[in-house]
Amino acid sequence: MTEPVLSVADLSVRISGLHILQGVSFTVAPTGVTVLLGRNGVGKTTTLRAIVGLTPRAGEVHGTIRMGAQSLLARPTHRLVRGGLGYVPEDRCVFAGLTVAENLRLAERRGTTPAYDRVYALFPELDRRGRQRAGSLSGGQQQMLAIGRVLLNDNRLLLIDEPTKGLAPKVVTEVAEVLERVAESVPVLLVEQNLAVVRRLARDAVVLAAGKVAWTGDAQELLLETGLTKSLLGVGSAEVHH
């Protein structure tokens, strides 16, 4: 069996007295997209933030997170990212007051050659809009910029949090196409609510419920099981195939 790129074991996160994650364990395959699913508030974003070291200071994190042989817990975020962990947060978090080119320049890492060719090949619009303030971009363009920033560098794993949230259907399709191409070269741990996108991209799935892993396995099989999707995600077959 191939070694996973990421192993999470018995991960617990408590923030301000709330026990958000309660012993979560799963692995991420070294290729393709692994999707983290679950209803709102089950701890999907908390899981990604714990992996990348962004749990608030007031929070407590216990358990094991390993990328290959390396333990990730207690390492500062900037070191994890420099070590090849790319993170695209929920709501994009582009720097609104900076231009598109400045947003990209900020993501350059010392000692490496930034892959502008790769980014502009996927998102030609970012090249054309280099001098435009990121805050004046549309939601879809901001998402492209957020993904473009991490693709400027070579990564061992990408963590992408709800990339299609709040986007128009046409833009959702564009973002899904891009992620499909990205996943050909780097494994992705994706949090996504849009099950049509999940159906298109995901190979493996991890479903969280009430801070615990409720199901793991083949994502396509999960989506075919109407009973499972209804009980775990609260959606019927019509929404899965939409």
Partner: protein, 296 residues
């Protein structure tokens, strides 16, 4: 007309002093979320180090190039103290606001006490180069050269900070960090280095304010940093946390308002009007003139 010109230029001199203190304060708060009540200490250190260097440091003096050397020494001392404060006292307390406030308030009190213990509580005569004792006739008004020097210094510092923020890698990191510090770290950048840098910039500007402000007033005293800091905080809030340009606009507004009202009203009324202006801005535009974003 002479009076208007004189009040305008002396008001701008006061604004320059406020800006030099507020610019660093604003960047430190905008980037690192640190309310640094010890910022006035950097001003005091700069003033006293300049005063000491003018009388004791070889090559330094109270006039000509020697005075430039003395001011450079004062700025260096203020910068070093600011960097040490950040590294030793503030860094372990990031995201712990109450502890930070306690430490910086305590440090400001201890700093004043230390200056008093070393050089006494009374104001001391500050070395003033000959040119700064004179006045320049501007459209009929005799304007003190010390005030003009402050204005020139503030404009140069504003230009230098904006150039740094606009054209350097660290400037870019600071501008981004003022918007979203967490996301800067998520791009693989150690934002703590930028924290130290903004403390250094703030310390240098405040120390320069201490040296040139003492030239303007003719004296140096242990408590002068603290009294200026109150108005600098008002400037930062009116200008918008994290915005250097906002601080510049706010400093001009505060300096002119204070000068004109104090002259045409009763003495001290200008200070009350400044607090009134602060209240109006907080009611109508709580994020200040330029909001949270650091503009270059």
């Amino acid at each position: 007309m002479d009076t208007i010109i004189l009040l305008t230029l002396t008001g701008l001199g006061l604004a320059a002093l406020y800006f030099l203190v507020a610019s660093g304060l604003s960047l430190v708060f905008g980037l690192a979320d640190v309310l640094n009540f010890a910022h006035g200490l950097f001003l005091g250190v700069g003033a006293y180090a300049t005063w000491w260097a003018a009388g004791n440091l070889p090559g330094a003096g109270g006039d000509g190039f020697g005075f430039v050397v003395a001011v450079a020494f004062g700025v260096l001392a203020g910068t070093l103290v600011a960097v040490l404060v950040e590294l030793v006292l503030i860094r372990p307390l990031y995201s712990r606001t109450i502890e930070q406030v306690l430490v910086t308030v305590g440090l400001s009190l201890a700093g004043v006490a230390l200056l008093q213990a070393t050089w006494g509580a009374d104001a001391r005569t500050f070395p003033r180069p000959e040119w700064t004792r004179q006045v320049t006739n501007v459209l009929g008004a005799n304007v003190p050269n010390g005030g003009l020097l402050l204005i020139v210094a503030a404009v140069l510092v504003l230009g230098a900070i904006l150039t740094f923020l606009r054209w350097t890698r660290y400037g870019l990191v600071i501008r981004a960090g003022v918007e979203n510090r967490e996301m800067v770290t998520a791009l693989g950048i150690d934002v703590r280095k930028a924290f130290t840098l903004v403390f250094a910039i703030g310390g240098a500007a405040a120390a320069l304010a201490g040296a040139l402000g003492s030239v303007y007033f003719g004296t140096v005293s242990p408590g002068q940093g603290g009294s200026l800091l109150i108005f600098a905080f008002i400037v930062v809030v009116i200008g918008g946390m994290g915005s250097v340009v906002g601080s510049a606009y706010a400093a001009v507004a505060v300096g002119l308002l204070q000068q004109f009202v104090n002259y045409y009203g009763t003495s001290g009324l200008g200070d009350i009007c400044v607090v009134g202006l602060l209240a109006v801005v907080l009611l109508l535009r709580p994020q200040g003139i330029a909001g949270k974003v650091a503009t270059a």
